[in-house]
């Protein structure tokens, strides 16, 4: 079972990211579960969402304490104490940042990969919503699901221009990272 | 608790089931319909019930209304014109805005019956029915005859004149056209009354003989003889009595020559003769020691003439010297040249009795060339001297029976204490006919109790709204010439509005108030009239006795009575 914890802020589409991930996984035949760390979300406040992917039914409903992956939608969230707590040994972090992965090597060591997702979202969508770009990069890094699965999940949620722009965005985002770089972790 | 009761799921109940529970058991008082006399009814000398016939008229049944009316007074076209209508004085509506124009409605019905020639509602008496003789075809005689007929008796009316009507013909045409008198009396006679003209008691037949031939005799000779009149024993040579002049005018259409006249008296005869004189160019005064009538403060010594007539007389130029009396006649030879008059009043003494007091120093002279007394007439005793015993009038009891005589009755102007109106005469006739019928059936005559009357306070006038009284059209003074009738009858539209003004005092108006306002649906409406004369039935199974219906009955027809 693969457990992903997504950190973000109200308004960044945090829960949507978890839902998209689970939906994409479901379309590829996985059993998946996604849910927010239920909160009275206000725009800008730090929020958490979870996604579980498994090859059999998932019955547990507890929060993800020891994720395999962290997706952090905002570099500033790193200032929140304990944000990477519980990450499994060997676990990986996808961080939304304009800086290179190396810039975080000191604090987060080699586990981190960065993506200028907000910048890209602004460019492609006209709005600073980093979630789909990060998801795309995540899928490409892990090789868990084909890009088409995410496209399919997006098609269920978005339409017309927004969908088109997102599809262009995820295509671009995928190219920004190295395919299957985290495959090993994902298959562990 | 009924253990077999099947309850419903979820506690619902079927509609209307509360009817199983009789809230009538809560009651300690109960409403009931109680007819009480309307004041118009109670105050009518003829005994008419205007409330009843107005109700029928209002219901769109004019012929039934007329039949109801003539079941009491067979001469409505006549009384509707000449009656001083105490009914209107009594009318509760007078306390609200203006009294109902009852006399106008009465006249309307009378005229309508003449116009349509509606038959008087009566069945012919059996051939062996007792036969009653009525002496005098004036209003009292005709009324008595009519009511004898209605009581299943045969009747013959005898009169000195060639046609029925009697004193009615002495009322000037401008007030009561002869045509109306003829139309009504002839139609009445056609109902089955035998009429024998040119009959004078003591000439054609004596009273004894009448008594022998007939089961009962009703005397209604009127007062065709004028009272003796003089001032300190002095009488002018060419004295003409008012009634005599009126009769002469009616018979020959001429008056003695005169330029100025003074009429003495305050009754309708005085007014009639005064107005006749004015119409003939005579400068006329009426002198009377009474007060002018004032509806606001009716006094016992008011002029007896109808206020309406007095007003019209004044409009036409009659001058009335009220609170005056004649002190002496100014004569040249035996012919009058004037009178000395003095101010006087009727004032009550310590016991409240009125006395005439003349005020010295108020004397003045009025120049006239005729003095016409109209101070009252007395009965002509011829043929019935034994009954009258030299009095001016015949003495009778409350039922019209002549004292000491088993089968002789009397009524109309001739009897003692009569007010002298046509309507009163009609009332005497009716009562006496009833007494005769009862006597002939060997029934005792009951004591006459005054009816229980509905007063203004007994009504709920919130359900009425102010509406102006219908007034008959009156000819302008300039057009009041000759014999033309001054007042026109009401139009159909006027009558419709006027009947709607009736409060229906003491009788069911079928207004639906009780039916509408009962919080317990305990007043049921019926298409047919219930036994108690209303169109509503109290449902005592449910009536809780709250009294709301009685409180809101506009006519005072519902009373709450104890019910324990």
């Amino acid at each position: 079972m693969i457990e992903v914890r997504i950190h973000g802020r109200g308004g960044q589409g945090n829960v949507v990211a978890a839902y998209l991930l689970a939906t994409a996984a479901f379309t590829e035949g996985w059993y998946a579960q996604a849910f927010p760390a239920f909160g009275a979300e206000r725009r800008g406040a730090p929020v958490i969402a979870f996604a579980r992917l498994n090859n059999k039914i998932i019955r547990r409903r507890c929060q993800i304490v020891s994720p395999d992956f962290l997706i952090i939608q905002d570099e500033a969230l790193l200032h929140i104490p304990g944000i990477i707590n519980g990450l499994k040994p060997g676990g990986r972090i996808l961080l939304n940042s304009v800086r290179s992965s190396e810039a975080f090597a000191d604090t987060l060591d080699a586990r981190v990969v960065t993506l200028p997702a907000t910048q890209m979202a602004k460019e492609y969508l006209g709005r600073p919503v980093p979630n789909t770009a990060l998801l795309s990069a995540f899928l490409n890094l892990t090789g868990l699901l084909p890009q088409a699965a995410l496209e399919h999940a997006l098609e269920q949620r978005f339409q017309d221009k927004v969908l088109e722009k997102n599809l262009a965005l995820i295509e671009a985002a995928a190219k920004k990272v190295e395919h299957n770089q985290w495959q090993e972790v994902a298959n562990a | 608790m009924n253990t077999k009761l099947k309850l419903t799921r979820g506690g619902f109940a079927w509609g209307d089931t509360s009817c199983n529970y009789h809230t009538g058991t809560w009651r300690v008082q109960r409403p009931q319909h109680e007819y009480r006399a309307a004041p118009c009814h109670a105050s009518c000398p003829a005994g008419e019930d205007p409330q009843a016939y107005i109700a029928l008229l209002d219901s769109g049944k004019p012929q039934q209304a007329w039949e109801e009316l003539v079941s009491i007074n067979p001469l409505p076209a006549i009384t509707g014109r000449v009656c001083p209508h105490p009914c209107e004085t009594g009318c509760n509506r007078g306390d609200y805005d203006q009294p109902l124009a009852i006399h106008s409605i009465e006249r309307y019905l009378g005229d309508l019956a003449i116009e349509h020639d509606w038959a008087y509602p009566v069945t012919a008496p059996p051939a062996d029915a007792p036969h009653i003789a009525v002496l005098g075809a004036g209003p009292a005689g005709l009324s008595a005859a009519w009511h004898c007929l209605r009581n299943g008796l045969q009747v013959t009316v005898f009169d000195e004149e060639a046609e029925a009507g009697g004193t009615l013909f002495t009322i000037p045409n401008y007030r009561l056209p002869d045509d109306v008198v003829r139309a009504e009396t002839r139609r009445l006679l056609k109902a089955g009354i035998n009429f024998t003209a040119d009959f004078k008691l003591g000439r054609e037949m004596n009273l004894d003989e009448l008594q022998r031939r007939y089961a009962a005799v009703f005397l209604a000779p009127g007062v065709m003889k004028s009272s003796e009149w003089s001032i300190d024993g002095v009488t002018p040579r060419d004295l003409h009595q008012g009634l005599h002049l009126l009769k002469e005018w009616g018979d020959v259409g001429a008056l003695p020559p005169m330029k100025t006249a003074v009429v003495i008296g305050g009754g309708n005869t005085a007014i009639d003769i005064a107005r006749l004189l004015v119409r003939n160019g005579v400068d006329t005064h009426i002198i009377i020691h009474s007060s002018m009538p004032d509806p606001a403060h009716p006094l016992a010594d008011d002029m007896r003439a109808m206020p309406r007539e007095i007003n019209q007389a004044l409009e036409e130029g009659v001058k009335i010297l009220n609170h005056h009396g004649i002190k002496r006649l100014l004569l040249r030879g035996e012919k009058v040249t004037g009178i000395e008059i003095i101010r006087m009043r009727k004032l009550p003494d310590d016991n409240g009795k009125l006395h005439r007091i003349a005020f010295d120093g108020t004397e003045s002279i009025l120049h006239v060339d005729q003095v016409i007394p109209a101070i009252g007439q007395i009965v002509d005793q011829q043929g019935m001297e034994d009954l009258v015993h030299g009095e001016h009038h015949i003495k009778v009891d409350a039922w019209g029976q002549v004292a000491g005589s088993e089968n002789v009755f009397a009524g109309g102007d001739a009897i003692d204490g009569n007010g002298g109106t046509v309507t009163e005469a009609v009332g005497n006739g009716r009562m006496t006919a009833q007494a005769i019928a009862m006597k002939l059936k060997q029934q005792g005559l009951p004591v006459i109790e005054p009816p229980v009357v509905v007063h203004y306070e007994n009504l709920n006038t919130e359900y009425f709204e102010p509406a102006p009284r219908a007034e008959q059209a009156v000819l302008p003074v300039a057009e009041r010439v000759g014999e033309t009738e001054i007042e026109a009858g009401l139009s159909v539209q006027q009558v419709e509005k006027e009947t709607r003004r009736c409060f229906s005092c003491g009788s069911c108006l079928s207004c639906d108030n009780c039916w509408t306002l009962c919080p317990d649906n305990a007043v049921l409406k019926s298409k047919k009239m219930a036994a108690d004369g209303s169109y509503y039935v109290f449902d005592y199974d449910y009536c809780k006795g709250c009294g709301l219906c009685a409180m809101e009955c506009p006519t005072g027809y519902i009373l709450m009575v104890e019910d324990i």
Binding site: T27, A32, F38, V65 | R9, G10, A13, G15
Partner: protein
């Protein structure tokens, strides 16, 4: 067909497939997504009903009551404070024996205010006279919602489908939404015989005097007891059509000869089942999911508890001043047949406190004691309490 759906969305679709004619609701977290999804279905013409967006939960309950009395199938949903605001009407609906279905998106009750999940709200209206069914997962929520209409309409009792707020309502997972034809086959059109009808006027909600009140209450009580059969039958019949059963009155997972049992209501069930796999060294344990809390399935429970030495009742709410709410009823039910079974009452996950897998181990450790522990709120961290309140537990 399985679809990845958020629980609320699935419940909304299940409701739509039951074709209610009147839906009334007032927004409250975590019920909102259900109603929003219904509103979306209505707006897109995928659901045909009168949607009444009322001004309070009180009116929501009242609107569906009025609508049901007027002969329509209805739906409402609420949570927490909303359930309490409805309470008077909930009693009223049940007492009048009105069939209807509502979802309670279970949430803690203020104060202190909490938008997160526990089951204090539905427990607060335990005695209102509604059937209460608790759902273990979102598939269960879908199936139970559909079954609830048939149960309600056959028994003429209202059914409250209790779904853990957020834990289920906001969780996306693969859920099968039955085909419309399947639902139509299962659930006949609503025909409420006592519906208000001008052609045959009746009066509902009459004043019942002491002469009749005990009979009315008795009848209501009996109706709830008899509803157990309808709950079982509905589950069985729906299983024939859908291929899925929800366990009827309760379901059991674990070996028949287990000496230890854990009884739960709602979504913690799945967590416990998986937790058991995480701790294979702990004694064999039966996990009992109490689906029907009202009517309380005494007989089925006794059968399920055959051979247990210890039964842990996981409370998701409490009665302050006493303790657990479910455990006393369980204990009383078992007394006659399994007097020896020790019944433990532990509250977990109050106000949305996460219920991690290790709860399973904690529970086992708790029952090792000689004497059964008194009612305990498992995850309280006493040192966090103010000094004056310290040591309460």
């Amino acid at each position: 067909m399985l679809k990845a759906l958020e629980g609320s969305q699935a419940i909304a679709q299940a409701v739509a497939s039951c074709r209610p004619q009147v839906v009334a609701a007032y927004p409250i977290t975590p019920q909102t997504h259900i109603v929003e999804n219904i509103a979306k279905l209505v707006a897109n013409g995928k659901m045909h009903c009168e949607m009444v967006s009322v001004e309070s939960e009180f009116s929501a309950a009242s609107v569906v009551l009025g609508a049901a009395c007027a002969g329509s199938r209805t739906y409402t949903a609420s949570a927490s404070q909303g359930i309490l605001l409805m309470a008077e009407v909930l009693y009223n609906i049940a007492g009048m024996r009105i069939p209807m279905v509502m979802t309670c998106a279970n949430r803690a009750v203020s104060a202190p205010i909490s938008i997160w999940n526990d089951q204090q709200d539905s427990m607060a209206v335990r005695d209102a006279g509604w059937i209460q069914l608790y759902c273990a997962d979102n598939q269960d929520a879908v199936d139970t919602t559909i079954q609830a209409y048939r149960i309600a309409e056959r028994t003429e009792l209202p059914v409250m489908v209790c779904v853990d707020g957020f834990t289920l309502t906001h969780t996306l997972e693969p859920i099968d939404i039955p085909e419309q034809a399947m639902v139509d086959q299962f659930l006949p059109a609503f025909n409420f015989k006592r519906a208000l009808n001008p052609a045959q006027p009746t009066s509902m909600g009459t004043l019942v005097s002491p002469d009749f009140f005990p009979e009315a209450r008795y009848s209501h009580h009996q109706a709830l007891l008899h509803a157990a059969d309808e709950i079982v039958a509905a589950d069985a019949d729906w299983a024939k059509i859908s291929g899925r059963a929800s366990g009827g009155l309760l379901s059991i997972d674990g070996p028949d000869d287990a000496k230890i049992g854990i009884l739960t209501l709602g979504s913690v069930y799945g967590t416990l089942v998986e937790a058991r796999e995480e701790y294979p060294d702990l004694p064999a344990t039966k996990i009992i999911n109490l689906r029907a809390f009202r009517p309380f399935p005494v007989a089925a429970l006794c059968e399920a508890c055959q051979g247990l030495t210890d039964l842990i009742v996981l409370e998701r709410a409490l009665s302050p001043g006493y303790g657990g709410i479910v455990a006393p009823e369980v204990q009383a039910s078992l007394t006659s047949v399994h007097a020896a079974t020790r019944v433990h009452s532990f509250a977990v996950g109050l106000g949305g406190r996460d219920i991690p897998l290790e709860i399973y181990r904690k529970l086992h450790r708790r029952i090792q004691l000689e004497e059964p522990a008194p009612f305990t709120i498992i995850d309280v961290e006493l040192e966090r309490l103010p000094v004056e309140d310290y040591g309460v537990e």
